[in-house]
């Protein structure tokens, strides 16, 4: 097996303030192969965005305490100095965000911002960088790209801004693309355009991608594998088709049942009762146990260890091995 592009082992992130400590990420381990799309699926408070930002060390240094190991393309990200981090960000690893209006600088044109990134990482002349910027805008299918180079972010619509941000992220040929809910703020018709674009670009350029979302539909359209997070832990992982067809963990099942998608109008939706735990006061056992219909004493004692009922699939639940006879 070729070396993984991303290898995260036992990542822990805590946010420490005077008043409390929030355990945002608790022992997360995963890997991403080159050219693969991993989707981290979770709701707010699951730790998915924090995990993503930890990969580029974008968390506030004063409050965040990170431990564990993060390796991107063989480099130990947590050991990098400022210069190394600067080279990593935008060069080897790039990120696109949810709100393009706040991620793009409003006082510079799109062209200027892309050119700046290119010059920073690749050097060369301004003219060459501008030509490359034009190429990129055409790659992300922005109409009238030549004029758009001189537009300011507020002159573009939401969908175009998002494409411009993608162009900026791709400008230096990153091998890893991190996407933090980039389509959540977009309309449905624009969202599908951007998703298809990302899928095509990812395949063409062979980038590994980690895509964070809370939307199962988005995951189904773009992921090769899904990792479901809850209360800072990955509680299920596997190929996208398998997970959608046959979710193992009770939370994943609950999530699917409660996602509104063609349910009968006469009955209530099977909502998961209760709400996610307070990250400052995590229960000692399985974090989902208080809301789980199948919880037993064993669940409350200690966080479940990962189980691998089938190669390629993982679930942290003590109940599953007993319940899936075909995998026994």
């Amino acid at each position: 097996m070729s070396a993984a592009l991303v290898e995260v082992k036992d990542l822990n992130v805590r946010f420490v303030t005077r008043e409390s400590t929030a355990h945002a990420v608790n022992g997360v381990t995963f890997s991403v192969q080159p050219g693969e799309v991993l989707c981290i699926l979770g709701e707010s408070g699951s730790g998915k965005s924090v995990t993503l930002r930890a990969l580029m060390r974008l968390l506030p240094a004063s409050k965040a305490r990170i431990s564990g190991s993060i390796k991107v393309d063989g480099q130990d990200v947590l050991a990098l100095d400022q210069a190394g981090l600067s080279r990593l960000r935008g060069g080897l690893v790039s990120m696109i965000f949810q709100e393009p209006m706040t991620a793009l600088d409003p006082v510079y044109t799109i062209g200027d911002q892309i050119v700046e990134t290119i010059l920073r990482h690749k050097g060369g002349s301004k003219a060459a960088a501008r030509a490359r910027a034009l190429e990129l805008l055409e790659l992300v299918k922005i109409p009238s790209a030549a004029q758009r180079l001189d537009n300011y972010p507020h002159e573009l619509s939401g969908g175009l801004r998002q494409r411009a941000m993608i162009a900026m992220a791709l400008s230096c040929g990153p091998r890893l693309l991190l996407a933090d809910e980039p389509t959540t703020a977009l309309d449905a018709t624009v969202q599908i355009q951007v998703l298809i674009l990302l899928r095509k670009l990812q395949a063409e350029l062979g980038m590994g991608t980690i895509f964070v979302t809370h939307d199962l539909g988005v995951a189904s359209e773009i992921a090769d594998r899904i990792a479901v997070m809850y209360a800072g832990r990955i509680i299920e992982e596997g190929p996208v088709a398998d997970i959608l067809a046959n979710p193992l963990h009770p939370y994943t099942r609950g999530l699917m049942a409660s996602t509104v998608h063609g349910q009968s109008r006469d009955r209530d939706i099977d909502a998961i009762p209760g709400s996610p735990p307070d990250l400052r006061q995590l229960p000692p056992g399985c974090a989902f146990a208080p809301r789980c219909a199948q919880a037993s004493g064993e669940c409350l004692a200690a966080p479940p260890e990962p189980r691998y009922p089938v190669p390629g699939r993982m679930a942290r639940c003590v109940q599953i091995a007993a319940k899936i006879p075909e995998f026994a």
Binding site: R18, E19, D268, G274, S275, D278, P290
Partner: protein, 298 residues
């Protein structure tokens, strides 16, 4: 048919509440861990108490002159801080002077808060015409440098403590009006105000219940920072002879009269200045600290 009569409830376990503290409680909590603010808060408290209890604390009569005891050094015959150019005890005069200086610093701010604050809220909430009328009028006053404006108004009115306070009130009102107007304009467009309108509430009700509570915060913070400026400006007016008249004890006036004696006893002559400095800085830092504590990340 599903649960027609029973409404979905949350399981009891989820509702274990985090310790409730309320808004002011969390402000107080944050302040406890800010030693600088707490220290200067104590200093401010000491200054206020000293001024209030001046009659009890002052060792001598601040108006009693003495020809032979002029400009004596600290510690001479019981005068802890020496005497001034007319033989009066400096410590007593500083204590009594605190009354005047604080009064002249705080009263104009209070007046400006009420007048300027009200005008600002009306300007912020009213339509475009009301807003323009009020704010552009304020701009005219705001355009003048504050010291010049205070001197001009006070001088035109003939000086004296009361006129000085009126002048300072007029100087502070436009600034306070602006702060209130900005805060009101921001709150006016928030969803919960629209929700209140949708419930059928009238303008006055919305102002009272929803706008006022959210505007008083920034206004109060600004007012507390204005007090330190007020003390400075008031002392300045007295220094120029436009504030209180002699023989009333006042820090600015004392600085002015002691100025000529600076070669004889420099330490004593600087003391009123030190008092002004300490008072002004303490109020300033206290208000800074309160502002940070009130800046709750809600």
């Amino acid at each position: 048919m599903s649960n027609a009569m029973t409404l979905p409830q949350q399981p009891a376990k989820e509702q274990a509440a985090p310790k409730q503290r309320g808004y002011w409680g969390s402000v107080g909590y944050r302040l406890r861990y800010d030693p600088v603010t707490v220290f200067f808060g104590c200093v401010v408290l000491a200054i206020i108490l000293a001024a209030v209890f001046a009659p009890l604390l002052a060792p001598f009569d601040p108006y009693k002159e003495s020809i032979i005891g002029r400009l004596k050094p600290m510690g001479w015959k019981g005068h802890l801080l020496g005497t001034d150019e007319l033989g009066r005890d400096l410590l007593s005069r500083l204590l009594y002077g605190g009354q005047v200086s604080l009064l002249m610093g705080v009263v104009p701010v209070a007046i400006a808060t009420v007048v300027g604050g009200s005008l600002g809220i009306i300007g912020g909430f009213g339509g475009r015409r009301v807003n323009t009328a009020i704010m552009r009028t304020m701009d005219v006053f705001y355009a003048f440098p504050s010291v010049l404006l205070a001197v001009a108004i006070s001088g035109a009115m003939g000086g004296g403590a009361a006129n000085g306070m009126i002048a300072l009130s007029m100087v502070f009102t436009p600034a306070m009006c602006r702060v209130a107007e900005t805060a009101t304009a921001q709150v006016k467009n928030l969803d919960f105000v629209e929700a209140a309108r949708a419930t059928g509430a009238g303008t006055l009700t919305i102002l009272r219940y929803h706008i006022l509570g959210n505007v008083l915060g920034p206004v109060f913070i600004y007012a507390s920072s204005l007090v330190s400026v007020g003390i400075l400006l008031a002392s300045g007016l007295s220094f120029l002879g436009l504030g209180v008249k002699p023989p009333t004890a006042d820090w600015g006036l004392m600085l002015s009269t002691l100025r000529q004696s600076i070669y004889i006893n420099p330490a004593i002559c600087a003391l009123p200045g030190v008092a002004i400095l300490v008072a002004s800085v303490s109020f300033n830092l206290l208000s800074d600290g309160i502002r940070s504590a009130m800046d709750v990340r809600l």
